[in-house]
Symmetry: C2
């Protein structure tokens, strides 16, 4: 049997370390050239597989591939495109198999979150059904940290580190000025459904009185009275109040704070931003001068302050995906298994895709303090190792040197095109 090529794609929102996983996949495949052919990457994620726009990673130098380890974003392009169920759009799956067949692809590595793991699972099923069985391995990725059966998700640790470092630094600034100027600082972070990222801000508060003093979680409905009273208490006690607010915080009736009535110059609702809403509320009710920041993409792209644990794990789950495939495993996702907290130790494990698909891991209630404004020691024990270590990219002229690949296209072999319905 001639050796098969591999397909790799990045899916969903990218992270500071998803390219480290790509690096792990490609470098490991290159080490096993006797058993695995070329690695073709999907241009713009799975869309590239459907439209037969494949990138030949063998045309990239070893140096360029190595540089993926320290480059943020998705080097091959990613997309938010969810394949429908088999019954709803069988044509998409059949097209995938056609493309894979045409390019002698026998391995499918899909690097993404819950939806992507679901797709990986379906491809594995239908490829068998269609008589062209493909080895399918999922590679976990999400800043939201919401995949089940893995201790944590590559991508999360680096956002967590960025958030903890940033709120600590900004709080040193506010603390200096609070006597005569800004007394409240509000920093908004990602996490529409779960408070993992907001919780990471809590890591900065190592000692009593340290910032952040308040965390607003999407898991805890916003109570204006209790919140304002806590802000007032902090300003009294510490001279200032530093707040981390998740974009996903909701009023008691379920409406996002970020949507609560902000209107732009054109009369459109929702300029977005929970932070300005919270800040303005404090100003109007308590009179404190405020500043606010919205980190947005800066947080998930901040490769310059990536967590070494995170980079190492992102690489490892990519590397293991290739090794698992070559060892004959199929329809599994590589996972991180924590084997010890102190010292922090972990290894790569596996989870059946059938058990991963469509399950969202929420933050345990035991991770949030009773008053709803902080993280518990248990949460800290879980989060702390994930931001451990620094892994600085190389710099030139004061700027990080991130790689842009050549992305040379593989020649198309199919006559038919394919229309993407977006």
């Amino acid at each position: 049997m001639p050796k098969k090529n591999a397909f790799y794609a990045q899916s969903g929102g990218v992270t500071a370390v998803i390219n480290a996983s790509a690096c792990g996949v490609i470098e490991t495949a290159r080490k096993h050239k006797d058993k695995m052919g070329k690695v073709y990457a999907g241009r713009d994620g799975i869309i590239g597989a459907l439209t037969e726009e494949l990138i030949d990673t063998s045309k990239e130098s070893a140096r360029a591939i190595a540089a993926l380890r320290h480059t943020p974003g998705g080097a091959f392009g990613s997309c938010r495109y969810k394949l429908k169920g088999l019954d709803e759009n069988r044509a998409e799956y059949e097209r995938l198999i056609d493309v894979f067949k045409a390019h002698n692809i026998g391995y499918f590595f899909y690097n993404g979150g819950g939806d992507s793991q679901d797709t990986t699972h379906k491809v594995s099923q239908i490829s068998k059904e269609l008589g062209y069985p493909i080895t399918c391995i999922g590679i976990p990725k999400t800043v939201d940290n919401d995949l089940p059966l893995t201790d944590n998700c590559p991508g999360f640790g680096s956002v967590a580190k960025y958030v903890a470092v940033s709120i600590r630094e900004a709080s040193f600034d506010v603390a200096s000025m609070c006597k005569s100027s800004t007394k409240v600082f509000v920093m908004e972070v990602m996490g529409r459904h779960a408070g993992w990222i907001a919780a990471a801000g809590g890591l900065a508060a190592e000692n009593k009185g340290d910032a952040p003093h308040i965390i607003l979680f999407p898991e805890v409905r916003f109570n204006q009275t209790r919140f304002l009273s806590k802000v007032k208490e902090c300003v009294k006690k510490y001279g200032y109040c530093a707040i981390v607010v998740s974009e996903g915080v909701r009023h008691s009736k379920g409406q996002f704070l970020a949507e609560s009535g902000t209107k732009d110059a054109f009369g459109h609702a929702q300029l977005g931003g929970a932070a300005p809403v919270v800040a303005e509320l404090i100003k109007s009710k308590l009179g404190y001068k405020y500043h606010w920041a919205v980190a947005d993409y800066l947080q998930r792209a901040a490769r310059h302050i990536a967590s070494k644990s995170d980079v190492d794990q992102a690489y490892a789950v990519g590397k293991a995906a290739v090794e698992f495939a070559l060892a004959g495993k199929n329809a599994v996702m590589t996972t991180i298994v924590r084997t010890s907290n102190t010292p922090y130790r972990w290894k790569v494990g596996e989870a059946k895709l059938s058990r991963v698909a469509n399950v969202e891991k929420m933050m345990p209630a035991s991770f949030i303090t009773k008053d709803g404004f902080g993280i518990t020691p248990r949460c800290r024990t879980y989060l702390a190792p994930l931001i451990k270590g620094e892994d600085y990219p190389p710099y030139k002229n004061g700027l990080p040197q991130y790689v842009q690949l050549k992305k040379i296209a593989v020649k198309k072999r199919l006559d038919a095109g394919f229309n993407i319905k977006q």
Copy 2:
């Protein structure tokens, strides 16, 4: 003549490196104990001098003082408090001299921007007049880079580096997703009057097509039609458009973009934020999906990504202030003198306070491209060395270790208190 003590205070908005200047002052004074007494720091800036709340820096360990070099914010507290003119509030100046006399203070080191240099100048004049001459040396500091007679201002280089690194990273993110998702990213940076910080974002665009594609300067009035057409062109050409917008950008009639009609839930104007206004404009007129970030204090507190040039210079201007004072200089500000661009070389110089006070250095028109959306090669030549080099703080458990001083108070010697009018 018994040796005199020194007074040091931090003024105005703090920076990632103002403590490096404090470190330079204190370490250098300690080296000259034979000639200079203790360094007393003003608690919360000049307010501490008026209220006789002095911090005895001799009670801080050598290790703690050394750690100031890598700690952001203002370790002794800062304030936005401008002393009035001599005629308007002579009592304040007289009070300062009373406090300095009571504590045998013969040196006044004031670390701040334009207003602070003006104060330093006035203290030098009135102290002579009142028969208690004090050696007054200004130490430059401002993220705004708007002090005259110095090549650049300590504090600016680190913000510049943060902004250039951040827009580069976020743009890698957007570029990955633009095929099917976000096409426009807007990042708001500081600079109400001058576009130095926004210009620094331009450093990330080293090659044609690199982000940021558009910079909105406070120096260039906002032209909606031209702006939108440029955004459209970029999306067509590069697939996405990355924009750096200064908080100080104004409409043609002079109104800040940030104020253009945003109203919060309580009907208050100005939730703040030029970025959301620009982003929403693009969405409504061109239909592109957007993301936006407001860096706010994160940018000026980001010691974790400080520029080594900046840290070195911040330290040097503090060190030189003490050396100048001991050499008999008076009523000068320490400055940075650029002696070569390639390789970058600089030394510490001096400028008369009388020439520094109340002069704002604006960005030369020759630094902005003709279309008003970018920086010229000349601007790049000026800015590039300022972000050179990395100077990482020490980390423990994944977090930067910033020092919090003991801040032990010097015993008050005056019976009378002093009311600060704020």
